[in-house]
C-alpha cells in the first residue's frame, strides 16, 4: 500500500514561493493498494492536481474508479471535487463515503456546494461520472483487498468529523484531521484507533505556544503524544497553517525530532509534503 500527498495545506490554498516545497494546495491524500485499488482521503484543491494525473490513465478514457473517504465537509476538504475533468467523464465511477451532518446528508451538502449560485456545474446531477454516496458508519468494509474502518472522533459545531483506517496485509494507515482533544475520551479513542499503525497522518497546523484560533484542531504536540501512545511507526503531520513557510516547518520538525531522539523514541516524524509518496 502506498500513500501520496496531493494537498497538505489547511484552511485555504497558499500559492506562495516560500511554501512550495511542502505545498500550498488543500487536503487531499491518495492511497493505492498493491492491486491497484485507489482511495482518496478528502478532496481539497489537491484533488484537482490528482485529477489531472488520473486523466493520463484509465480515467481519461472513462474507465476509472475511485473511492473517496471524506472526513467532513469544510471547504479545505471538499472544494476540489468538481473541477478535474475526470469527474465529468461518463463511465468513470466515484464512490463517496462520508458523514451526514444535522444540516443534511453528505449528498445534500455536495449538491448545495455545486448549486448554481456557487458553481457553474449546476448541481450533482450534472457530474458526468457515475457517483454514489454512502453515509459512513463504523462497520468495516472492503475495497478490493483493502479494509477500511471509520470512526466518528469528534464534532465541530454540527459537523461530525470522521477518522479513517485503511489496512492491507497487516499494514495500516490512519488518517485523523480536524480533531481537538478537548473532551475526555476523544484522545483515548484516537489512540485506540491508531494503535500500531505504520503510518499516522494527523492534522496539526499549529504549536501549543501559538495563540491563534485554529477552528478545532489539535496541536503538533498533541499529534506526537497520540502517535507515541498508539505506538505508531511514522507520524506525518499535515493541514499546515496558511502562514507557515517551508523553512519554519523544517525547523519545527527538526526540533521535535531532536526531542524524540532525546526521549529514546523510535517514532519517525515528518511533515507531509505535496508529491511525496511513501510505502506504508
Amino acid at each position: 500500500m502506498k500513500v501520496r500527498f496531493w494537498g497538505v495545506r489547511g484552511y485555504v490554498p497558499t500559492p506562495n514561493a516560500a511554501m512550495l516545497r511542502y505545498g500550498g494546495n488543500t487536503c487531499c491524500t491518495a492511497v493505492t493498494g498493491a492491486h491497484g485499488e485507489l482511495v482518496v482521503l478528502d478532496t481539497g484543491t489537491g484533488f484537482c492536481m490528482l485529477g489531472d494525473e488520473l486523466m493520463q490513465g484509465e480515467f481519461g478514457r472513462g474507465r476509472g474508479s475511485l473511492t473517496l473517504l471524506i472526513s467532513h465537509t469544510y471547504w479545505d476538504h471538499i472544494l476540489g471535487l468538481p473541477f478535474p475533468g475526470v469527474v465529468h467523464i461518463p463511465g468513470n465511477r466515484l464512490d463517496i463515503y462520508g458523514p451526514d451532518s444535522t444540516r443534511g446528508s453528505l449528498q445534500m451538502v455536495y449538491d448545495g456546494m455545486l448549486s448554481p449560485v456557487y458553481s457553474p456545474v449546476y448541481g450533482l446531477a450534472h457530474i458526468g461520472a457515475t457517483h454514489r454516496f454512502t453515509t459512513i458508519s463504523t462497520e468495516p468494509f472492503t475495497l478490493g483487498r483493502l479494509t477500511v474502518r471509520a470512526l466518528p472522533l469528534s464534532r465541530h459545531h454540527n459537523s461530525p468529523i470522521w477518522a479513517y483506517r485503511v489496512e492491507e496485509d497487516g499494514r495500516a494507515l490512519v488518517y485523523i484531521t480536524d480533531v481537538r482533544y478537548n473532551e475526555a475520551g476523544i484522545r483515548d479513542k484516537a489512540i485506540a484507533f491508531s494503535r500500531h499503525a505504520n503510518v499516522l497522518i494527523h492534522s496539526a497546523p499549529y504549536l501549543r505556544e501559538e495563540q491563534v484560533e485554529d477552528y478545532g484542531h489539535s496541536r503538533i504536540e498533541d499529534a506526537i503524544e497520540v502517535a507515541l501512545l498508539a505506538e505508531v511507526e511514522r507520524l506525518l503531520i499535515f493541514h499546515h497553517a496558511p502562514t507557515r513557510t517551508d523553512d519554519e516547518l523544517d525547523a519545527i520538525i527538526a526540533r521535535f525530532r531532536a526531542w524524540l531522539v532525546a526521549q529514546g523514541s523510535s517514532l519517525q516524524l515528518l511533515a507531509a509534503a505535496e508529491g511525496v509518496e511513501l510505502t506504508v
Binding site: 485555504v12 500559492p15 484543491t45 473541477f83 456557487y118
Partner: protein
C-alpha cells in the same frame, strides 16, 4: 486612483512553481482613491490584502466590497479576510440581486456549518449587504460605480469604477457575445449555438453594447481571458473568453490598457508570456496588452 491586483486566477487557486509569477490566488482587486478603498471580488487574493491592511495598520474604518458573482473562485477568500473580525470596520458588500437567494444568505451560507464553522455573529465587522442589478450607477466616496451584465452562467455583474484620475473596468467572467446566451438556466452544449432566435441574438447584441459602453475609454480593462481560442471552441458553454476575444472587446471599447485576467488554472507563466506577446502583436496601435499578475499596480502616469 491606484489599483492593485491580489488574485488573478480563475476556477480554483493553484500552488504551482510554474504559475507563481502571474500567481495562483483567485480573483481579487483593490482600488484606492483618495484614501477610499474598494475591493473587487473576494477570491483567495483577498486573504493577502487583509494581511497587508493589518500589517500596515492603516486606519481604515470603511471598505466597500463589490462582488461580480458568487462562484467559489470569487468568494473563497472571504472568511480568510482578517478585517472581517475587526469590530471597528464597516464593510459594505455589493452584489447581484437574485430572486432565488439573497446575497447575505449566499455568503453566510457558504461559511456556515457544515461547510465552515462560522456564523454571522463571528464576523465582528459591521457588515451591510446591498443587492444591485445591471445598469445601476452610484457613488462610493469619490468613485462613481456603474454596472452591466456579463455573459456568464447564472449571470454575473461587470463593474466600471470612475474617478478624477482613472477609470477601471472589471469584467472577470464573461463569454463572448455571438454564440451562447447565458442566463439562470444551465446550458447543455450540443455543439450548436444556443442563441438562434432573433430575440436571443438581440439580447446578446444588447449585452455586448452595454459591456462596450461600460468599458468605453477606460484606462484599464481587466477582462476574462481564461481560454485559448482552441479551448473556447471546445467549451463555449463555460462562459469564459479567449485572450483574442478579450483583445477585440478592448479594441472596440477603445481602452488604453487591457489586462488579461482569470487565468486558467493550467496556464503556466511561460504560456501567459507568449499569449501577451501574440495579442500585443495583433492589437491596434495605442492598445497596451498585459496579463494580470499578483502584485500588479496600475496608476495613471502624471
Amino acid at each position: 486612483m491606484r489599483v492593485r491586483i491580489w488574485g488573478t486566477r480563475g476556477s480554483y487557486p493553484v500552488a504551482h512553481a510554474n504559475m507563481l509569477r502571474y500567481g495562483g490566488n483567485t480573483t481579487c482587486v483593490e482600488v484606492e482613491v483618495e484614501g477610499h478603498r474598494i475591493i473587487l471580488d473576494a477570491g483567495t487574493g483577498l486573504r493577502l490584502l487583509g494581511e497587508a491592511l493589518q500589517r500596515n495598520q492603516e486606519s481604515f474604518r470603511h471598505l466597500d466590497l463589490l462582488i461580480t458573482h458568487t462562484h467559489w473562485d470569487h468568494i473563497m477568500g472571504f472568511p480568510f479576510f482578517a478585517p472581517l473580525f475587526d469590530p471597528e470596520l464597516r464593510l459594505d458588500i455589493y452584489g447581484l440581486a437574485r430572486t432565488q437567494s439573497s446575497l447575505r444568505t449566499t455568503l453566510v451560507g457558504a461559511l456556515s456549518d457544515p461547510l465552515l464553522p462560522l456564523t454571522m455573529d463571528d464576523l465582528r465587522a459591521q457588515i451591510s449587504f446591498f443587492e444591485i442589478g445591471a445598469g445601476h450607477c452610484f457613488d462610493l466616496g469619490p468613485v462613481r460605480v456603474r454596472t452591466a451584465l456579463a455573459n456568464h452562467p447564472y449571470r454575473a455583474l461587470a463593474y466600471r469604477l470612475e474617478a478624477q484620475d482613472g477609470v477601471l473596468t472589471f469584467i472577470p467572467d464573461t463569454g463572448p457575445f455571438h454564440t451562447v446566451l447565458f442566463g439562470d438556466e444551465r446550458i447543455e452544449w450540443t455543439g450548436q449555438p444556443t442563441a438562434r432566435s432573433q430575440s436571443d441574438l438581440r439580447k446578446l447584441a444588447l449585452m455586448k453594447e452595454a459591456i462596450l459602453e461600460l468599458a468605453h475609454n477606460s484606462d484599464w480593462l481587466i477582462y476574462d481571458a481564461q481560454f485559448t481560442d482552441a479551448q473556447y471552441a471546445r467549451f463555449p458553454h463555460w462562459g469564459h473568453s479567449s485572450a483574442s476575444q478579450a483583445r477585440e472587446i478592448a479594441e472596440e471599447a477603445q481602452v488604453r490598457q487591457l489586462i488579461l485576467f482569470h487565468h486558467d488554472p493550467h496556464r503556466t507563466d511561460d504560456e501567459l508570456d507568449q499569449i501577451v506577446m501574440e495579442q500585443q502583436a495583433l492589437a491596434r496601435p495605442g492598445l497596451l496588452v498585459t496579463a494580470a499578475f499578483e502584485g500588479m499596480e496600475l496608476q495613471r502616469q502624471p
